[in-house]
Amino acid sequence: MPLYHNDDQAMLADTARGFMAEEGNITKQLRHWRDRNCKDGFGHGLWKQMAEMGFTGMLVGEDDGGLGMGHVEAGIVLEEIGRNLTPSPFLTSSVLAATALKHGSADVKGRYLPGLIAGDSVFAVAIDETAKHRPSRITTRAERSGNGFRLSGSKSFVVYGGSADMIVVAARTSGSDDDDDGITLFAVPKDASGMSHDAVRLVDSSMATHTKFDNVELDGDAVIGEVDGGREVLNAMLLAGRVGAAAEGVGVASGAMDMTVDYLKQRKQFGRLIGEFQALQHRASHLYSEVEIARAVTIKAQQLLDANDGAGSEKAELMVAVAKAKVGRTAGLAVREGVQMHGGIGMTDEYDIGLYMKRDRALQEFLGDANYHTNRVAELNGY
């Protein structure tokens, strides 16, 4: 398969780009909600519109009411989200949670997917337990209790956990903390008795929670997939979420780069446009090269994942790690160069370039930063 968008995908990209630039732009969304100190951190109106566009159910199969599209298509939407810094639960709800629910029973799908697709219910995911991403270690425990389970433990960096209706929780139902086996995924209503959410605003103005589970009673039908067999589902979620985060990162990097290159063509110092200075030209050209490569490896990873129906192959897993690592370093470079080349105004809140820097920082940490994934690449290569 060639590494560029086919006609349908190119059309989707046009639509998504126009829509996000018009409705999801920084003034209408990120600044609007941030300046009102919105505790949800995103606009429900836009989320409804995204549902009407069909975006929310892109990854859900047609039999289940979705569009049956793949990660290339979801990546197209995410790149535009990244470019516009649009706050929305697309990545958590429509990519991560949707991937988990696809592995659920017909009953689970029937219960949750229609609301997710319609944009009526928002899903968050609770995976991390410490400040750094480490999904190999799951200590939150779900003990058998009657026909169901009793959940205890705590999760961190639950993005949009405070405004979500449901939270997909990765918990341990058997074995010890670092075991591969013994993981089970649960769909937990946010307001379940025994749950507490400590909401925190993050550097990029997005909202996340530290969520505690204190003997939360769950029905047996809260289980997504197999009891003790959740690692496979969790891995599928992680692959989908990471390649999605990479696509969003490409958008952040492109947006920051475009804004910076434009600025080089407008700002005058010493009687010349600063874009005439070779010291800046070379840095801009280097950045361009890195962004192109980051985009290429992201499409490669998306295609590999789609070719295998999202189940992951060794090659797909490797390229997803490469993509997340490469995009992480590239987007970091893009926002740092962006702020530096904007000079003093790059430090002001009035200019958008700083918002790119903040968003990049949060996106870096989501599902493993560049260091985590670089280490993964070494491990997957056998060293």
Binding site: L3, L264, L273, S285, E292, I293, A325, N381
Partner: protein
């Protein structure tokens, strides 16, 4: 597609029958390849047999038309042949700047007479060509070149000096940029073809930091170059004074080649190989080196995807015309980094300059050789200038 599969199975069978085992070993260095030419000698029977089998089939230049010594393969068939050859690690039967550089220029700009003569000579490995571009005062600023051809009616008298002429001391003919109009910088250069045996041509190999001498200084002292070699066969490619067009076309070609677009092991991940190599000498990877190797592997694997995307986009005209400059820049910088890491991983063993165990200092000489990657064919800095100007459209670039 069925035809292509038939072609694949026929090709596989043909390679099986005709490619000797010795020709399925990697080429160790530039001396290990067969370059053809008047003074060429085969290193062994296997090299001769493989060359002759390919020659009879048109496989020294498989994608060139049959009339010019090729096999007339279409791009899909040529790709199948490349894949099948690489599957068994078959060496190229013939290496030459005629195939890589002059050939593409002649196919694009040449007259029928030039194609008939020169392309067939190249395909048969009869004439070994070298490239006369750079001059002592004209490196990155190539268009400032001074070697001058004085018009004498039916001929030019060429005087001047070239530098970095690859294997000029082994070459039979040269394709050479010569100034023929001093008043017009860009439209005053002619792309000439002439015999290195001409009176007044001399060469002097340059000893490099690698201890090897793949390049020469080439001197022209009143060299007489006829304007024509016969019917429809001028001694210049394209038009007189428009040689810069040909040179630019070829530089684009060269940048694609050097960039290693399309992969090859230059862009592959190396961490695992380094770990195994370390184990053989009783060493293990330092954790900081392991991290650097992993960062390199991320960049190399990502660049491989970029190469694939670049080739896919070129086929359908989606690639930006200046994209080869980006590929060249990143590819050569990566290759330098790769060799730095290989030296670091190899430790004191990699320092050995002529020991048998290192194949005559391959690690250290190879490491030094890569330093030229980001200089030859346009420096990294020039590549960045071109990206700034042609892709980012920055002012004054």
């Amino acid at each position: 597609m069925a035809d292509l599969e038939t072609f694949r199975s026929e090709t596989r069978a043909w390679l099986e029958a005709n490619c000797p085992a010795e020709m399925r070993e990697p080429v160790r260095d530039e001396d290990d390849a067969y370059w053809g030419g008047r003074r060429a000698k085969f290193k062994n029977d296997a090299q001769k047999a493989w060359f002759e089998a390919c020659l009879a089939k048109g496989y020294t230049v498989p994608a060139w038309p049959q009339a010019y010594g090729g096999a007339g393969l279409n791009p899909a068939e040529a790709k199948v042949l490349r894949e099948e050859m690489s599957r068994i690690n078959a060496r190229p039967p013939l290496s030459s700047f005629g195939i890589w550089m002059l050939g593409p220029a002649l196919l694009h700009f040449g007259t029928e007479g030039q194609k008939q003569r020169f392309l067939n000579e190249i395909a048969r490995g009869e004439i070994r060509w070298c490239q006369g571009y750079s001059e002592p005062g004209s490196g990155s600023d190539l268009v400032s070149l001074q070697t001058f051809g004085e018009d004498k009616g039916d001929s030019w008298v060429v005087n001047g000096q070239k530098i970095w002429t690859s294997y000029a001391d082994h070459a039979d003919w040269i394709f050479c940029l010569v100034r023929t109009d001093k008043a017009d910088k860009y439209q005053g250069i002619t792309f000439m073809l002439f015999d290195m045996a001409s009176i007044g041509v001399s060469t002097k190999p340059i000893l490099l930091i690698s201890g090897n001498s793949p390049f020469c200084e080439t001197f022209f002292d009143n060299v007489s170059v006829p304007k024509s070699y016969g019917d429809d066969c001028p001694a210049y490619v394209g038009q007189i004074n428009r040689g810069w067009d040909v040179a630019k076309y070829l530089l684009g070609h060269e940048r694609e080649m050097i960039s290693g677009a399309g992969g090859g092991d230059r862009t592959a991940a190396i961490g695992a190989v380094m770990k195994r190599a370390a184990a053989r000498t009783g060493d293990e990877l330092d954790p900081v080196l392991r991290a650097e190797l992993a960062m390199f592997d991320v960049d190399a694997l990502a660049y491989t995807a970029m190469g694939e995307k670049f080739l896919d986009e070129i086929k359908v005209g989606k690639a930006h015309p200046a994209q080869p400059n980006m590929m060249k820049y990143v590819g050569t910088e990566l290759n330098k980094r790769r060799h730095e890491l290989m030296m670091a991983a190899g430790g004191s063993r990699s320092l050995e300059w002529d020991s048998e165990e290192t194949g005559g200092g391959k690690p250290s000489r190879g490491w030094l050789r890569t330093k030229a990657n980001s200089i030859e064919g346009g420096t990294s800095e020039v590549m960045l200038n071109v990206i700034a100007k042609r892709i980012l459209d920055l002012p004054g670039a």
